[in-house]
Structures are given as structure tokens and as C-alpha cells.
């Protein structure tokens, strides 16, 4: 009898231990690195939720979605954080995600009324260069210059795909012609953003495909004024990064609480100087000093997610044809 009591005591103890709910969030790798926003967000959310936040890094946005599709309904993930506007359509089609129940005053360049996907930051693709370079004013200028750029492969990188949609949106049927003219300016194409940016910092290329907010990193974190982003008069394609709740989650309320938390001042501040993107909801103090104001809405290009998905394969074919010659 005594033994039974001890056993029962153990059982209660483990049950009590297991009562701290755990929220599993799949996100991209750079989010969870020491210098990304992950650690700050984890600390702040755990302070208010009485739960254990488990951030899991799994490649980048597209790899995240592929991973969730592989896992299906058995996934341990409660929330995915790090899909973007070009992935929303296939993500919706997978049927893996549930309505968020989140509502907010967004500071986005477009109207947002998607019930499932919650935007948590956004950025504009741009070519970053050193301030002493005379930057071209648009893609045609760039194509006629003898500047060398490094870009990322749309098949393996989200910014790479962003550039594809940028040129397709700005030029439509003339996109293949632009790509053909750009071919001799493209020094090389890398697998991911990191390789490109590393090459640019090594002085290998004049400009690199990145974000308008990249120079802010150098200004704020490194006190270095030597980088800037070229403003193109066609406008700049936007990337809105979103999070969503998995339909299979066993912690739906906690997941919703986390999604709402991602729009709080604390989380948005961590995003700005960790992810180096614009906030989805403007925090109280506004943008940090040195961040620069985003371009006005009329300068922002963004296809609705279903159109982006429909154009994707065509744009990729055009890109491959133009650059494989």
C-alpha cells in the first residue's frame, strides 16, 4: 500500500511537471540564431504565457512548408512562423492551417484581411550597394550599365523568387527581354541570401539582391554608413512574412495568444532590430533611429498570393531560358 502511495506520488509529480503547456513553433534558421529575434521573443512570451516556447529552426520559408506537408496532421508544430506572400497560396491549398482569430491595426503597404495568415513583418526587395557607387535608377539602367550584381536562385531562395516576381510585375510580357539584357550584369547566382551577401561584402560584386532595410543593419548595429539601397522607379516588390496556426495543434488557445503576441510592441521591436524588416504593426516608439522610412505605398509592388502562385512557373521558365543562353 505504501509503495502504491509512493508510485501515485511520482505519477502526480510527473503530471504536474507536464502541466506546463508547451508551444512548438517552426520557423526559419536565422530567426532562432543568437542574433536573430528568436531569443528575445522566447523570453518575453514565456514571461507572460506560463508556458514553454519551443522554437524549432528548419531551413527557410519554403523548406518550412515542405516540412509541414511531410508531417501532415501528425506534426508537433502548433504555429509556423516564416512563410511569405509567395507561399501563402500553396500553404492555403495544403489545408494544414486554421483561422488565427487575430485582429490588428496593420502598418502594411497593402490592405490585409486574411483570416488565416498573420503578417508579422515586411520588407522591400532592393539592390544594396556602397554609397560611393552611382546607382542605376531602374532595371533598364542597370541592364545598360556594366555593373555586376549577385542574385539568389529562385528555386532555392525566397528573395530570389521575389526578384522574379518583381520583374514580372513591373514588366509583364517584357520580363524575358529585361532578363536577357540583365544576363551580362549577373556575376553569379547563389543558393541562398547568405552566400550572395557574403560575396558582396567581400567586394566581389557591385550590388546584391537584398532588402531596403539591409543598410539599417550596418548603420545601427555596426555604425557603418557605407551601404545604401538603390531606389528603382519601377517600384519595389514587397515581401510580407506571415505566421499561422496549425489546424492540428493541441494548444489552439496558446497558439492564438502567441500570434497576437507577435504583433505586440515587444515582439515587433525585437523583429525590427533582429530580423531587420519593417514592423507589421507600428510599435509605440516608431521605427528605430537610422532605419529610414519605408517607400510610399504607390512605390510598392505586390501580387495577390493566388496571382503570384499562378505566375510563378511561367516567370521561372522565362528566367531559366534567358539566363541559360
Amino acid at each position: 500500500m505504501k509503495r502504491l502511495a509512493i508510485a501515485a506520488g511520482f505519477l502526480c509529480a510527473t503530471a504536474a511537471g507536464a502541466q506546463t503547456p508547451e508551444l512548438t513553433v517552426y520557423t526559419y534558421d536565422s530567426f532562432v540564431s543568437d542574433f536573430g529575434p528568436g531569443p528575445k521573443i522566447e523570453k518575453a512570451f514565456e514571461a507572460q504565457c506560463g508556458c514553454d516556447l519551443n522554437l524549432v529552426g528548419a531551413g527557410d520559408g519554403a523548406a518550412l512548408l515542405a516540412r509541414l506537408r511531410l508531417e501532415g496532421a501528425r506534426s508537433k508544430a502548433d504555429v509556423v512562423l516564416g512563410l511569405d506572400t509567395s507561399l501563402i497560396d500553396p500553404a492555403r491549398g495544403s489545408g494544414l492551417f486554421a483561422e488565427s482569430g487575430v485582429d490588428a491595426e496593420y502598418a502594411l503597404p497593402v490592405e490585409w484581411d486574411d483570416p488565416v495568415f498573420v503578417p508579422y513583418d515586411w520588407g522591400l526587395f532592393a539592390f544594396v550597394h556602397n554609397t560611393d557607387l552611382k546607382a542605376p535608377a531602374n532595371f533598364r539602367d542597370l541592364a545598360e550599365s556594366d555593373l555586376k550584381i549577385v542574385i539568389q536562385d529562385p528555386r532555392s531562395s525566397t528573395p530570389g523568387l521575389g526578384l522574379l516576381l518583381w520583374i514580372k510585375t513591373a514588366y509583364g510580357d517584357a520580363a524575358p527581354e529585361i532578363w536577357a539584357k540583365l544576363a551580362d550584369n549577373i556575376l553569379t547566382v547563389t543558393k541562398g541570401w547568405s552566400e550572395s551577401y557574403g560575396l558582396f561584402l567581400n567586394g566581389e560584386a557591385d550590388m546584391v539582391l537584398s532588402y531596403t532595410t539591409s543598410p539599417a543593419y550596418h548603420r545601427i548595429a555596426e555604425d557603418d554608413d557605407s551601404k545604401t539601397a538603390a531606389v528603382f522607379d519601377e517600384g519595389h516588390y514587397a515581401q510580407i512574412e506571415v505566421a499561422a496556426k496549425l489546424a492540428s495543434s493541441d494548444q489552439p488557445e496558446l497558439a492564438e495568444q502567441f500570434l497576437q503576441f507577435m504583433l505586440s510592441d515587444a515582439a515587433q521591436a525585437a523583429i525590427m532590430t533582429g530580423n531587420w524588416m519593417y514592423p507589421a504593426v507600428l510599435p509605440e516608439g516608431g521605427l528605430p533611429e537610422g532605419f529610414g522610412t519605408p517607400l510610399p505605398a504607390e512605390q510598392v509592388l505586390l501580387l495577390p498570393s493566388d496571382e503570384a502562385a499562378a505566375l510563378r512557373d511561367l516567370a521561372l521558365d522565362e528566367w531559366l531560358t534567358a539566363l541559360s543562353r
Binding site: D29, N54, L55, A62, A63, R69, I186, V189, W319
Partner: protein
């Protein structure tokens, strides 16, 4: 040799060989079964196959062709720093791709050291991007490995042969014809096959140095099928193409590499009396210096760019480094447990299928193996908790082809030399293994273990698919740092990785050679 009785049981090798084959093919089948109906292979995929084969053939042939004179020079000469140089030959091979690419471009790039030097002389910069750039990078990775494998071939020529040759007054030309060429005919095809197989699954190197989508490889097509189209069927099909190509290359190599070895000697240190003229010394010296320069410049670039970042590395990098070392050690043990029985069975004869199974680890895309394992394990267990052991296992399987290339020739030689005596003494299989085979393979086991450990240190491998923040490895941490703009910290971490890999390689390799000259 095939049907001769040998004092070695064949079942351990067959069991481990079957295990490896089942693991890899099982993962592939799991991916194929999970696939939804897809479009099959597209014309663009066949273009990728063509490019992949062309670059892999060129890379393998050029690496081997350049490695032969370098290995010969190293085999003929003894000089201060030779051990260090031979040890350093492992270095390029173990670097994470992203680090090696940045290092190579710091030297050969448009703004690199060579272009800058040319600029001073008013010459145009080096045009590195293109097929030649891909081949250059692959030669940088693989020439050292090829040189080590071929150098080992030289070292397996018994010292008595060179002594006899010297007594008969044979010069370099006769030695080439009688000793060196027959040895190369056996060693070179298998070295070329491993390099061909490595280059088949190249992706980031080929794309970056190739200058764009013209340099699309099968691995990139697999990546695209997986994450851009989520077409697992196509990923599995493309992986089958990779396997078919590797198997074809291996069959050709087995055919070409036939022929009997030199048999054994008394295992004295080799002494060379040939090629001692001033001209030969000058030639060998120049070859060794050129090869060393080609290998060391990019390493120097990594060291110079990493030195500044090394002191301020965050704690997570050190934790990741510890994980990496543990994974590397576990992976080395696993590799030896798999490779030694396989090598012994192949040496005992009739083990062609085992050699093929050993090559599969290189033939199948890591992405497909990782995904397949994930599909198999996810329903039954927590894959995240297993991230590090799985990485160790997959790394061991990937190191297997190299290990077998290193272990098999020596094992054959020992069996040929001691087998009959052991049989006549009615020696048991275990006794032969413990008393005769393993002690005599110390140097080769050390080299293979060093290579496996270093390879595991540098490989991003499957960890990228399963990692959580607490369970990262150093290469993954480097990618994460770069992704968060921390280029300096990433360069520092890369230098740490280089140092740790080299240290592990060095310890194992030297440990194996403690008793003999390298």
C-alpha cells in the same frame, strides 16, 4: 583471388553491407512512396543531368590527372614539413561548402587576390564564373583527396620491389613501366569514381562558380522538386538517376581496376634510389610547391578573414562546436563498425556488391536520405530528439565510400600475404582479424577514421532538416550567423571549424601512423 579459401568469415561484411544498402534504398523508397502523382522528369531535368555528368567527369579526370604527379613527387621525396603537408591534404575536403566557396573567391574571384595582383600589372581580372570555375572548385576540393589515395597506392608497393629495381639498375622510366603504372592502373579508377560520385551531388559550389542556372545540377533539381514544387516523386526519380550514374561509374572502375597487386613484402620503410638527379628533384619540388600553393591560398583566405571574429564568438558557437565534435566521434566509430567488416569481406573475395553498397552513400542526395529517414521515423518517434545521432549515422554512411577505398587495397594485400599461412595454422577468423589484419591496417584505419571525423565535422548534412536551437552543429551555426548578417562571427566560427576538423583529422591520421614513416 576470388575463390581462394581465406581465414575470414564473410557474413559480417555481408550483414553490414546489406544494412547500409537497406538504409539508403529504404530512405529512397520511403520518399517515392510518400509522393503524390507528379509530372515525372522534365526536359530541364535532363539538361541538369547532362551538365552534372560533364562537370563531374571533368572534375574527376582533372583531379586525378593532377594528383598523379603530385603523389609521385610526394612518394619520391622526403623533406621537412612533408608530414604536415600530407596531413593538410585533408583540409579542403572537409570545409563546409559556403566557407570554401568564399575562400576560393577571395583568391580567384573578380575582386580576389589574383585579380588584384593582375590589376597592378594592368591586366584584366580572372574570369572565374563558368564551367571552368566549377571544375576549379571541385579540383580544389578533390585533388588533395585523390593525391592521398594515390600516394597510398605508392606506399603499398613493397620496399623490396624498389630495392630490386635499384639493384637491376632501373631508372625512373623502368620503374614507371614496371611498378608505378601497374599500380596506378588499379588505384586511379577507383579514386576517380569516388570523386565523380562526390561531384554528382554538388549543388551550391556548381551554381555559384558556374555563374547561374546554366550550371544547374541534379542536386539542385532535387532541391527544386522538393521545396519549390513539393514533387517528391520527381525528387526520388532524380535520385535514381544519381544512383544509376554512380553505379555505372563504379562498374567501369571495377572493370578497369582489375589485376593482381604486388603481393607483400617485409614491410620495411621504402627507400628510393631512382629519380635522384637534379632535374627530377627540381620537377618534384616545383610540383609539390605548386600544389601546396593552390591548396593553401584559399585556406589562408579563410584564416585571415576568420581571425578577427574568433575572440568574440558567442557561447552558442562553442556549444555547437562541442556537438559537432561528439557527432564526429560517434560518426567515426559507426563508420569503422560498418567499414571494417565490409573491407575484410571484400578482401576475402566476391564482394563486388558490398563495394557498390558502400558507394551508395555518396550516390544518393543527402536531402533525399534525410527526407526518407524523416518519413520513416516521424510516425514512430521524436525525430528532433534524434537529430544528432541521425546526423552521426548519415555522416558515417557518407564517409563509407572513402573509407572503403582506403581500407580495401591494404586488406587485400594482407590477406594475399598471410592468408595461406593462417589457413595452414588453422587460425580462426576472429584471431586472424585481431592478430593479423587489424594491426597491419593501423595506418589505413587511422587515415579513414580521420577522414570520417573531419568529413562529419564539416558536413551540414541532415542536421539542417531536424535541428532545434539546442541541437545544432557548427556548420549549421555558421549558416545561421550568416543569415543574421553576422559575417564576421561566421568567419570566426568557420576558422574554428577548420581548426577543429584539422585537429581531429591529424590526431587519427597520426595515431595510425605512429609506428611508420608517413
Amino acid at each position: 583471388m576470388a575463390d581462394r579459401a581465406v581465414p575470414l568469415a564473410r557474413w559480417p561484411g555481408w550483414s553490414t553491407g546489406t544494412l547500409v544498402g537497406a538504409l539508403i534504398l529504404g530512405a529512397l523508397v520511403a520518399v517515392a512512396l510518400r509522393a503524390e502523382p507528379g509530372a515525372g522528369l522534365r526536359p530541364a531535368d535532363w539538361a541538369a543531368v547532362r551538365f552534372t555528368v560533364v562537370q563531374a567527369v571533368l572534375s574527376a579526370l582533372i583531379s586525378v590527372a593532377l594528383a598523379v604527379p603530385v603523389a609521385r613527387a610526394l612518394a619520391r621525396r622526403r623533406f621537412a614539413g612533408r608530414r604536415a603537408l600530407v596531413g593538410l591534404l585533408g583540409a579542403p575536403f572537409i570545409l563546409p561548402v559556403i566557407v570554401a566557396v568564399l575562400g576560393l573567391l577571395t583568391v580567384f574571384g573578380r575582386a580576389g587576390w589574383i585579380s588584384t595582383a593582375l590589376g597592378v600589372l594592368n591586366l584584366p581580372p580572372v574570369q572565374i564564373y563558368g564551367l571552368h570555375g566549377v571544375v576549379l572548385a571541385h579540383v580544389f576540393f578533390n585533388l588533395p583527396l585523390a593525391a592521398r589515395l594515390i600516394l597510398q597506392g605508392w606506399q603499398e608497393i613493397p620496399a623490396e620491389r624498389f630495392r630490386l629495381a635499384a639493384q637491376l639498375g632501373a631508372g625512373p622510366r623502368e620503374i614507371w613501366r614496371l611498378l608505378e603504372r601497374p599500380m596506378l592502373m588499379r588505384v586511379v579508377p577507383s579514386a576517380a569514381t569516388v570523386i565523380f560520385a562526390i561531384c554528382l551531388s554538388s549543388f551550391a559550389v556548381a551554381l555559384t562558380l558556374g555563374g547561374g542556372p546554366r550550371a544547374t545540377t541534379i542536386e539542385l533539381a532535387i532541391y527544386q522538386a522538393f521545396r519549390f514544387d513539393f514533387d517528391l516523386g520527381r525528387a526520388a526519380l532524380l535520385s535514381c538517376v544519381q544512383i544509376a550514374l554512380t553505379v555505372a561509374a563504379a562498374l567501369v572502375a571495377l572493370q578497369l581496376g582489375r589485376g593482381d597487386g604486388f603481393g607483400g613484402g617485409l614491410e620495411r620503410p621504402v627507400q628510393r634510389w631512382d629519380a635522384n638527379t637534379f632535374g627530377h628533384r627540381l620537377l618534384d619540388g616545383a610540383l609539390i610547391a605548386l600544389a601546396a600553393l593552390f591548396l593553401m591560398l584559399p585556406l589562408a583566405a579563410i584564416i585571415t578573414s576568420g581571425a578577427a571574429g574568433l575572440p568574440g564568438l558567442p557561447a552558442s558557437v562553442w556549444q555547437a562546436a562541442l556537438n559537432s565534435v561528439l557527432v564526429a566521434l560517434a560518426s567515426t566509430v559507426a563508420m569503422l563498425l560498418l567499414a571494417l567488416p565490409m573491407a575484410a569481406t571484400v578482401a576475402a573475395g566476391r564482394g563486388g556488391a558490398i563495394e557498390l553498397a558502400g558507394l551508395l552513400g555518396l550516390a544518393v542526395s543527402p536531402l533525399v536520405i534525410g527526407t526518407g529517414l524523416f518519413v520513416i521515423l516521424h510516425p514512430v518517434t521524436d525525430v528532433f530528439a534524434l537529430a544528432l545521432p541521425l546526423t552521426a549515422l548519415v555522416n558515417a554512411v557518407m564517409a563509407l565510400p572513402f573509407a572503403l577505398r582506403i581500407l580495401i587495397p591494404r586488406a587485400r594485400q594482407i590477406v594475399a600475404q598471410n592468408g595461406r599461412l593462417a589457413l595452414s595454422l588453422d587460425m580462426s577468423s576472429t584471431l586472424f582479424l585481431l592478430r593479423i589484419l587489424l594491426p597491419r591496417m593501423r595506418a589505413q584505419i587511422g587515415f579513414a577514421a580521420g577522414l570520417a571525423a573531419a568529413l562529419s565535422m564539416g558536413d551540414l548534412g541532415v542536421i539542417a532538416l531536424f535541428a532545434s536551437p539546442e541541437r545544432t552543429t557548427l556548420p549549421l551555426q555558421i549558416y545561421r550567423l550568416m543569415g543574421a548578417y553576422q559575417m564576421q562571427a561566421a568567419a570566426g566560427a568557420a576558422l574554428l571549424l577548420l581548426a577543429l576538423s584539422m585537429a581531429l583529422f591529424w590526431i587519427f591520421d597520426r595515431g595510425g601512423r605512429g609506428h611508420a614513416e608517413a
